[in-house]
């Protein structure tokens, strides 16, 4: 579903959050209490450590979702509008790197795939077929990678072994 991704260090994230809250006008009273910026800044100052961590790393998000379950969907809570993917643009970033970074994040969040899947209704049969295909692909990917590594290592060992079959020119005493 919505993957929590963000590519920035904690300090810059805090700065950007504070700038957002300062620049935006006061939130309309009808917004849910969880998503209003004033409450979010209060919660940020109160709990400085937990809210930052789930927003940064994808890999550590599992641990943090266990430790801080209420912050699993923090993307939806800390900003007025919920988002799937956010890329914070640094100063002097090239066009190519920005677009590449954005595309990678979107790909990791599987947004375009999901959109295409949800365009038309998919019957139970089709859903089962799709799941089998995805599982097969995941299994084949997991099996390909470790096998490739083993091949590389074995090849290297064969090449590095020195051959000791050459004749050595040394003066041997008592011989002519």
């Amino acid at each position: 579903m919505a993957a929590t991704t963000s590519s920035s260090s904690p300090t810059s994230l805090l700065n950007s959050l504070s700038s957002l809250s300062l620049s935006s006008s006061p939130p309309p009273p009808t917004t849910v209490s969880l998503s209003s910026t004033s409450s979010s800044t209060k919660t940020l100052t109160a709990i400085t450590q937990p809210p930052i961590s789930p927003l940064i790393h994808n890999t550590s998000s599992n641990i943090h979702s266990l430790l801080y379950p209420s912050l699993a969907y923090s993307n939806n809570l800390f900003f007025k509008t919920p988002y799937n993917v956010q890329v914070i643009v640094g100063p002097d970033e090239s066009e190519e790197s920005l677009i590449g970074r954005f595309r990678r994040e979107v790909f990791r969040a599987n947004i375009i795939q999901e959109c295409k899947r949800r365009r038309f209704f998919e019957t139970n049969q089709e859903m089962r077929k799709r799941k089998i295909r995805d599982a097969a692909r995941r299994r084949s990917r997991r099996r390909q990678r470790p096998v490739a590594k083993k091949d590389e290592i074995s090849r290297k060992k064969v090449d590095d072994e020195p051959d000791n079959w050459e004749l050595i020119d040394v003066e041997v005493p008592y011989c002519q």
Partner: protein, 136 residues
């Protein structure tokens, strides 16, 4: 949408006289569907300043879905806003479509400082039933 957006006037120009306001920071919304790309520039609160789409740029039919057309639409929308003095902007991209990257490129080249680039494609948590499959 919730707010009534008055889309009067010619291509992307502001309709009312008194709303020629200087907005240093704004939000660029890009809706990139498979057949079209709509670029809307609003202020931080969401009030529309100007908009442009591929259709208003003169493309028709299958060419509306191309990335080049999306680029021209974005350039069009931003030209109208840069004169107003917008320096920084956030980008919110919605929808699958070829216009996603092309508009980003155009925005980057126009010289506006980007703070965030966000994807706000609406994802149902298994909500409404989508239409049936096409038998083409």
């Amino acid at each position: 949408m919730a707010k009534a957006i008055p889309k009067k006037g010619s291509r992307g120009r502001i309709s009312s006289r008194k709303s020629i306001r200087k907005i240093p920071k704004g939000v660029i919304h890009i809706q990139a569907s498979f057949n079209n790309t709509i670029v809307t520039v609003t202020d931080v609160r969401g009030r529309v300043v100007s908009w442009s789409s591929v259709g208003t740029c003169g493309f028709q039919g299958t060419r509306r879905g191309t990335p080049f057309a999306a680029q021209t639409a974005a350039a069009n929308a931003i030209r109208a806003v840069v004169d107003q003095g917008m320096q920084r902007a956030e980008v919110m991209i919605k929808g699958p479509g070829l216009g996603r990257d092309a508009t980003l490129r155009a925005i980057r080249r126009s010289g506006i400082l980007l703070t965030f680039v966000r994807d706000v494609t609406p994802m149902p948590h298994n909500g409404c039933r989508p239409p049936k499959k096409r038998r083409v």
